[in-house]
Amino acid sequence: MSEFEPKIVAFFCNWCTYGAADLAGVSRLDYPPNFRVVRLPCTGRLNPKYVLEAFKRGADGVWISGCHPGDCHYIAGNYHARRKFTLLYHMIEAIGLDPGRLHFSWISSAEATKFQEVACDVVEKVRVSGPNQSFRKAKLDLGLAEVA
């Protein structure tokens, strides 16, 4: 049987980590292909329910990444996001979701090597956590598009 390949939903800020992923690609840096990237205008746009929705629909891990504090394109978006992340991370941990499934990072658009390192690290951690079986819906509601 083939080795478990985690599915990871990644929420990247358009202005930094998304650019870093681009740069990593252009620079031919190897990183695992386990991510489904959702591009956000800012990490401040991230609503905690997106993260829960991802897990609920079967994601094995979630990775959220944005600009370094102080470098936000919208001045303070990631400062606000950081407070939300603190509560989200603590809540998820307290409820009993394996903390190895939820990852946060600050990666600027110039840090392609940091992107590569963190990407490898996230995939390894989620791989250790194994398939998400306890925090997903047993029966998914099929959207119309999936039925048709």
Binding site: K49, Y79, R82, R83, M91, I95, V118, K137, A138, D141
Partner: protein
């Protein structure tokens, strides 16, 4: 110590004075409920209405949520936790401070009717109370129950029993907090393994019907459209799926983080007697620990999620 009748009379007198002087157009308080051990919300506009106002230890509903339904000047009867919710309504711009008059009452704690029924399962016909005891009367029996033994959990650990800083007038004696640790059970829970925690919380909500009575009762839940009712996208399925229910409770707690005053309205409203505040308290503790913020104590301090500090710590971020 002032008796419950005296407190009731003082509330009535204040309400009459405020209405006749034209300071407010309505006084929100409690009246006797239609069944024993229940207090109903009461909106007093006339002298007759005022005579129905009471103070009991069954006044578990938080009335702060009604304030924004009135555009004119309103007075509200508030125990410690309710007064904090009222402050929250002002801080969140739901009502104007100048339209508001808070009749604060020193609160000895509200009782948990479930605990009473566990102690005395027989069918009662009439219930009376004084400051320390609840008296149950059945067909041919009666029992006394000591109030302190059947207090709600949030009342046992309440640190704001008297709303003396925020109330416009204070009725009853100032009440000191009980020496209980609010976070003891959370600390015990934190030592468990992730699997055990998840099992604990899934068991906790097993009975949940998702009737959303907790949301309706909560003074913080005033969104015109709640996320559970949104359909495009639909965040929660309509079936009773365990994960949907868990998501609802996590997000409900999230929306109340930095705002919840532990008034226990949600638990009082829950028809399945689920300990909903277990979810809220996780974030209540975190907000207090991280940003040293306790909701509803100050008219000026900004809620923690509307502000930030450049040096906020978050060592879990790589």
């Amino acid at each position: 110590m002032m008796s419950l009748e005296e407190i009731s009379q003082k509330i009535q007198a204040s309400a009459k004075r405020l209405l006749t002087e034209g300071k407010v157009e309505v006084v929100i308080g409690y009246r006797r409920g239609s069944i024993p051990m229940m207090a109903a919300p009461h909106f007093a506009r006339t002298e007759d209405d005022c005579n129905q106002l009471i103070w009991t230890s069954f006044a578990r509903t938080n009335l702060a949520g009604y304030l924004s339904k009135f555009s004119g000047k309103v007075a509200i009867v508030a125990k410690g936790c309710d007064a904090r919710s009222v402050v929250g309504q002002v801080v969140e711009n739901q009502i104007l401070r100048e339209n508001l008059y808070i009749i604060g009452v020193g609160c000895l704690g509200m009782v948990d009717t479930e605990l009473i029924q566990a102690k005395e399962p027989r069918l009662y016909r009439e219930v009376t109370e004084d400051i320390t005891t609840i008296k149950l009367f059945g067909a041919d029996w009666n029992t006394n129950i000591v109030k302190e033994e059947v207090l709600r959990r949030n009342c046992k650990t309440c640190l704001s029993r008297t709303p003396k800083e925020t109330a416009d007038e204070l009725i009853g004696d100032e009440v000191q907090p009980l020496p209980n640790d609010n976070w003891a059970d959370l600390k015990a829970l934190a030592t468990k393994s992730p699997q055990d925690k998840l099992v604990y919380f899934k068991n906790l909500i097993q009975g949940c019907l998702r009737c959303y009575a907790c949301r309706q009762a909560c003074p913080l839940c005033y969104c015109p459209v709640c996320f559970v009712d949104e359909t495009q996208p639909q965040w929660l399925g309509k079936s009773n799926d365990e994960m949907d229910t868990l998501t609802f409770h996590i997000l409900r707690a999230f929306h109340c983080s930095g705002r919840c005053t532990s008034c226990g309205s949600c638990e009082a409203a829950c028809p399945m007697d689920i300990k909903l505040r277990e979810f809220n308290r996780i974030l209540e503790e975190e907000v207090q620990k991280e940003w040293n913020y306790v909701p509803g104590l100050s008219w000026e301090q900004k809620p923690p999620l509307t502000t930030y500090r450049p040096d906020d710590e978050a060592d879990f971020i790589k």
